[in-house]
Every structure is written in structure tokens, then in C-alpha cells.
Amino acid sequence: MNWIPSIFRRRKLYNDLAEEMRLHMEEHAEQLMGEGMSRREAEQEARRAFGNRTLIEERSRVVWQWPTLESIWADLRFALRQLRRSPGFTVAAVLTLALAIGANAVVFAVLNAFILRPLNVPQRESLYEVENADDIMGYESYPDYLDLRDRNRSFDALAAYNISQAGLDTGNDPSRVWLYEASGNYFDVLGIQPFLGRVFHGTDEHGPNSAPYIVLAYAYWHDHFQDDRGVVGRVVQVNKHPFTIIGVAPPGFHGTLMIFSPDFFVPIVNQEQVDGLNFLNARGNALVPALMGHLKAGVSASQATADLNSIRSYLEKTYPKDHGHKTLVLARPALGGDWIGRPLRAFLSGLMLLAGLILLAACANLGNLFAARAADRSREVALRLALGSSRMRILRQLLTEAVLISLAGGAAGLAGSVVLLHRLSAWQPFPEFPMNIPVNPDANVYLVALVLALVSGFLFGIIPVRQVFRVNPYEIVKAGSTGRVGRRITARDILLVVQIAICAVLVTSSMVAVRGLARSLHSNFGFEPRNAMLVFTDLGMAGYSGDKLPAMQRRMIDAMEAIPGVKSVGLVDSPPLHMGWDPQSVFADQTTDLKPSNAAAIAITFNISPEYFRAAGTALLAGRSFSWNDDKNSPRVAVVNREFAGKILGSETDAIGRHFKMSDGTRIEVVGIAEDGKYTANLTEDPQPAMFLPILQSLSSQTYLVVRSGRDPQQLVAAIRNKLRDLDPGLPAFVQTWYEEMNGALFASRMATVSLGVLGVMGVMLSITGIFGMAAYSVSKRLRELGIRIALGAQRKEVLQAALGRPLKLLAWGSAAGLLLGLLATRVLAYIVYQATPRDPLVLTGVVLAMMLLGLVATWIPAQRALSVNPLILLREE
């Protein structure tokens, strides 16, 4: 191959060629002069005879080139020059695309991380999680798990885990940690090899509390043990029980629930030491949330499901007292099966769709701008055509420009999204839970961004094609770009209207969401989160149990009440709207067969101290609250909410004094009625039955103190901590405001609002550039006409009407359509955002104002240009 030297020789070759051709013409001219022509005539004739010198030179050069490659390179350089010449246009286009492609990249990265990229474990294709067909959470009791594990013929092995928290004392400050209680075979089923030391196995399990071992998660080891390899073999205290650290899990392994990363793993047989009570033998207590395993080779998912369900019906028959009927199904692990997976999938798909729409709008928009530019450049195009350029070549040049812009925009968007994604990966939305949001971009994300950039480049680059092919060079060179003032509705108009409509949809829905969120923050939850602190403690972590629990809890309440400024203090095992609520089956008093299917209702259960209602701000509608005399020696009592009273006791008014039954047969007397509230971590829930039980009659070691004060509760944090440390320095406490705690419940609607807000802002930006493009185009095309109008004495108003009437009319149509669609779309939104209602005058005026503002911003510069037309200069120019 001799092409390498030829590249360096090329300049000389080209120079030779040019010189040779010049001499050729010179010689011809001289000869003609010899024949009697004047020098000027001769030179002219020689040039004419020779033909288009540039074209010939170009065609001769082509011999030495790889024609396509080099002309693309030339196009590229030309495109760069062109873009540099109109920086405003370039920046606007690149920015628009950067936003649109960046948004797509971010949403896709999240989608990719949660939905497309499964758990980071070997052979994940055959890994399935067992879940319940009805309530999509896969809770089983531990004895049931053992039966499912040992009786099934479909899984290689079945592992189980439960998420729990504990107090870990490594000799320094005791701290609260999150852990997995995992079955002995957990690591072996998943095929996870230790990074350090060893993991535990099925063979370590010899009955309850027989395997006090800890396998640390890599991150926890890194952060809290400073990568100390000597940690293996160390004995630490978990809830005051000695556990031995036997190993460290590998860096990429964060357990099997993607969004949550535990600090360490302990064998599930030791769960009593962690949880304070033993559930290993409680067949009726479905407390193990996740079972998972690899299907045997050759077993299909449906075969395995049938197998599991036959075991399940055997269990239901054998232990009818402990089981209601349920159907087991298989789901992909990683997101707790469908529990988190389904809503997240729906949400992300919706978001992806919206992001796609934004990109489409951006393309339509840039297509408009490009068409406008192509029209502005029609003289240049005509000239090039007249000089012998082919239409294909001009088209390729326009496409090169488009792709260049789209690649630049894609790169900028990707860069922005990478920054955003890295921050998102480190994000901890709930201070209480160690979150793991593994959304760092991978090759897929880069690829998608590249493809999107290229596709959108071609999309909007192709829009001016027809225009270029229609160009008649001779007309334009003769007459200048006349700009037909068409009244016809063009594709371009429709694109703009669609885009404005999309923007209006986004603006409407984000406003509805914001309003809904703002309202929901001040709506009635059935408690008052303002001016209240929540102090979480787990007395089990400090070794308390049995009768020591209520005694210590009373001392904690007393200590809190002694803090100046504190108005009231209550205690609850799990506050309403907290992530871990406790639903229990309750039965009518006359029911004798207490199997789950006979339950009158499922009631959310709260174990509370006597002062809780006052501290929480929950109104007691009738009857009494508890006192410290409602202890285990006195009759069982409960306060129920109105929904409970109406649904289970038949009437709200004379519910007091009546009884109901728990699943263990306990009869409970209703002594009070409380207002309804929001209980499960979801503000959009319908009213649910709830009951409050005295904490002395149903002990709980994990509790939240509700500390209500008259002033900013934040000032109390130090005092609260001091008081607790005085009581027991070995007790870890977690202090936060009630509003902070509610972040979990508000998370979905917050996310929806923020996402919609971001998308709305983008929609607005896109529409502005879109309208701006069209208005600017319309003004520059009709500049001469406007000049004549002004010269003939047109008023400012008339000039503006002529110049901007059309874009503004399109804006009005688009906004109207978008507003209508947006109001329809918010019906869907109402499922995510509490109190999101489109029937809100503020939203309507807000949207109309926003769209008007948008129109004003977008047409400001073109309007200025139209008004400042100087007819004299303009007419002289032509």
C-alpha cells in the first residue's frame, strides 16, 4: 500500500495540477492573442473554453482521494465553519439537544440499572423469587420456608432472608446497623464467594442461636473497619450477644434487594438474638419476606410454580389454623419481586416515554430551525447548485451539520447526565435506611445516548430535504429569496403545535403535582407532624427484654418530659406512614373459627403509650385513652379508629364497650374512638381500619418516642441525646423530625413532582426555542414586506400582527390542546400524588400564564427585530 506517502505527496500533486491548468489557459489565451484577439477577450475566451476550473480541479483531485471519506471530512470542516458563524443558533441547538438527550440518558440509566440490569450474581437467568399472587409481597413463615425448601423438586436449593436492624457494639460507640438474617445456604444458593475469610453455610445451622456469625458487607467493612484484614475472627456484640466476624462479602454484592444494602449478614437461625423474639417455630407468623433459588436445569418457571403451590395447598390442609389460602407465583428477584418492581417499572416506563416525547419535540424544534436556516441560506444553496454542486452533496452537507450538532448535544447531555447519575448513586433519600441506587452509567447508557444523538441528528437534519430539492437556483439568484407568504397549514406548523401541546401537558401535570404535594403536606394525616421529633430506639439492642422493656420505656418518656419546652411525649412501636406497618387480622366477637379467611378486616396495629394521642396530635373522638394501669394484669383494651368502628363493630357511635377478637383468640374491649388517618406509607390510601393497643399489653422493644414541643423541635436534638445517654450509654438512638421521617411516605409523590417539574422546565425550554425559531424565521422571511408596510405607515401593532400573528396563533392552539390533555393526564397522576386534582383554578391560571409568558419570551427578539426594521436601508439593499 502506497497511500501513506501519497497523503504527504498530495499537496505537491494538487499544486502541480493547479499550476498546470493555469498555464494551460495562459497558453490558450496567448494563442488566441496570436490570432488577433485582445488580451481581455483572449483570456475570457480561454477561461470559457476551459470550463469550470474548480470543478475540473476537484474531479482531478478525486483520483488521488478516498472520495467519500475526504468529502465527508470537507463537509465536516465546512459545517464547523458554518456553525461557528452563527454561534447563537449553534448554542441554542446544542443546548436543546443536550437537555433532551441528557434527560433520556438519565432516565434510561435508571431504567437500565433497575429493570434491565439484573442482580449482580452468577447465573441470574435461572434465579427466581417466590411471591404471593395477591399482595405481591412474598412473606412466608420460617417453618413454611423449611417445608417449601425441603419438599420442592424444582429448585436446586431455596434460600431465604429477612431484613432486620440491630445494635452493633464493636467496643466503641454502639450504633444501629441494618442486616440480613439469611438462611445458611444463602451464599451457596447465590454462588457468592467471600472476599475475605468465609461465608456461612447450611452446615453451620444447628438449631436456634447456634451460629453467631457475621459476614460483613464490603462497604461496611471498608467504612467502619478501615479495610482491616485482621477483622476476621473478631468477636463483636450484636444486641449484647457475642457474634464472630467470619468473613467479608465481595465488593459488588449488596444483598438481593437492589435498592437496599445491608451492613452485614447473619444466619437466620440466630434471628432471636437480633429481633428479640423467636419466629423460627411460628408457622402462622409469615415474617420471612423473601425466598429465592435457582430453578433446576430443565424445570420451567410454570412447573416450579405448580410444584410450589401443591406444597402450599398441602401446608394449608395440614395446618389450617395457620394459613389462609394464597397462591404462590415466581418473580424476578432484585426489586423484591413485583413489590417494588411493578410500581417502579410503571413509573420508569412512564418517565422514559415522557423523555422520549421531549426528545421528539426537540427534534421537531430543531428541524424547524434547520428548515429556517436552510431557507435563509437558499441563496447560498442556489449559488452552489448553479456552480455545479449536486443536490446530494448539499443535502449531505446539511445532514453533516445536523449530525455534528446532535453529537455535540449528545456529548454535552451525556456529560451532564453522568454527573447527575454519580450523584444519584450516592444519594441517600431516607436517612434511616442504607440505600443503594446503583445507577452509574455503563456501556448501554453510552450506546443509547450515541444512538439517540445520531437518530435525532438524522431526524431533524432530514426535515429541510424537500426544501433543498425544490430550490430552483436561477429563480433565487435572480430574485433573492422571496419567501412565499403561505396561508396553508404546513407540516412545520403541526410540529410546532404538537410540541407546544406536549409542553403544555408537562406544565399542567407538573403544576398539578406541585399543588397536590403542597396540599398533601398540610392535609390531615390523622396526626400532626409539625413540631414533633421522633426518637427511634430498640431496647433489644441494649439487651433489654421482658419486663425490663416497659420500665425502661417509662423512664425514657419521663426523661423526655423533663426537657424544658417539651409539651408531651408519647411512644409508638411504629408511627403512622412509617415504612414498616403492622397489619393484623381481627375478628368479630361472635366468630369462633379464627382462620384468616374469616377475619372481619385487616387492621393496622399500633402499640402506644397512654400519652401518644396527645403527643401525636391524634384526636380522640369518644371514650378514653389508655393509662399506665392498662397493663398485662388488666383486661385487654383498644382504641380503634372510625373506619374500624364502622366496619367491624357496625357503628361508630356505640362501639365503645364492645369487643372484637385477635387471631390468637384474645378478646379486646374497645374503650375509645380515634379519628381516621393515613397509616401505610402511602398518602393516597383509602381509609383503613386501625387499632391502638396499650404498649403494656403488647410489649415492643423497637419504639419511637414522639416528642412534641412548642418551639422548633430541632433545638431539642442535643438534649434528647444527652438524656438518653444518661439513661443508658449503650443504647443507640436515631433522632429525626416527624417530617423527615415522612419522607418515605412522600417519596413517590416527591419524585413524581420533581421529575415532572424537570420535564416541564425542559418542555418550556423546547417550546421557547421552537416558537423563537418560527417567529425569527417568519420575521426574516418577510423583512422586506414589513419594511414596505412600515414605509407605507403601518402601526407597530399591525407590524407585530403581520410578523408574529401566526406563531402566536399556533401557540394558542397548542396550549389549549395541551391544557386539555394535561387535565386528562392528571387523573393518572392522582394515583401517585395525593390530592392531585386538575379542578384547581390556580393550576388553570398558572398554566395559561406560563404559556403566555413563554410566548412573550420566545417572540421578544423577533418582535424587536420586526419593529426596528428600517425601510430605507432595507429597500436600498435590494
Binding site: 502541480d16 470550463g51 475540473i56 478525486v62
Partner: protein, 116 residues
Amino acid sequence: MTESNTRDLFPGALEMMILESLRRQPAHGYALVQHIQQRSNNLLQVEEGSLYPALQRLLKAKLVKAEWGMSSTNRRVRTYQITVSGLRHLEQQISSFERMFEGIALVLNPGKSPAS
């Protein structure tokens, strides 16, 4: 400006004529135009638009070589000269052209033998 019909009669014809001219005598571009025009009794008009690309093709294929020098009329010119492989190429081209011409003649005049 149209592109297609300024090319030579059939692919390779112009190159063949250039090579044939250069075989007789090295020449520069302008002289080649004149020469071909004269030899064909003004029947063939060689356009510069075809000549220079063709010369570049021949140069690239190393069938001719070019040198700057002075012409008989004392002008600075770039003179083309046929190379050995150019000669060989020309012979092949001529013989295949003659065969083709023979074939065409037979088709057009089925009665006559081209030899006669």
C-alpha cells in the same frame, strides 16, 4: 453544468488516445488537446474537464510520468511521458479495442468481412 456526457466516447477511449499520443511524442496538457483534435480532423473535441482527471488517473496508475520543463516555444510546461507499463497497457487496450471494433462492425454489416 452537467456531468455525465462530457466523459469520453466509451470508458478508456480518452486514456487510450492520450497514451497513443504520448507514445509518439511526450507532450503537455494543452498540446495533447491540440494534438488529438488535429489528428481526428476536428472530429473529436477533448474537453479539459475530461483531460485533466484522465491524466491524473494515468499518473496514479503509473502509466505516464510527468515532469516540469520548458517547451519548444519556451514556455514552462508539465510534460507527460509514457512509461513502459503504459506502453504495455496501450498495446493491450488497442488489441482489445480492435477486437471490439471488429465485433461491432460484424454486427452492423453482417454481409461484409472486416478484413476485406
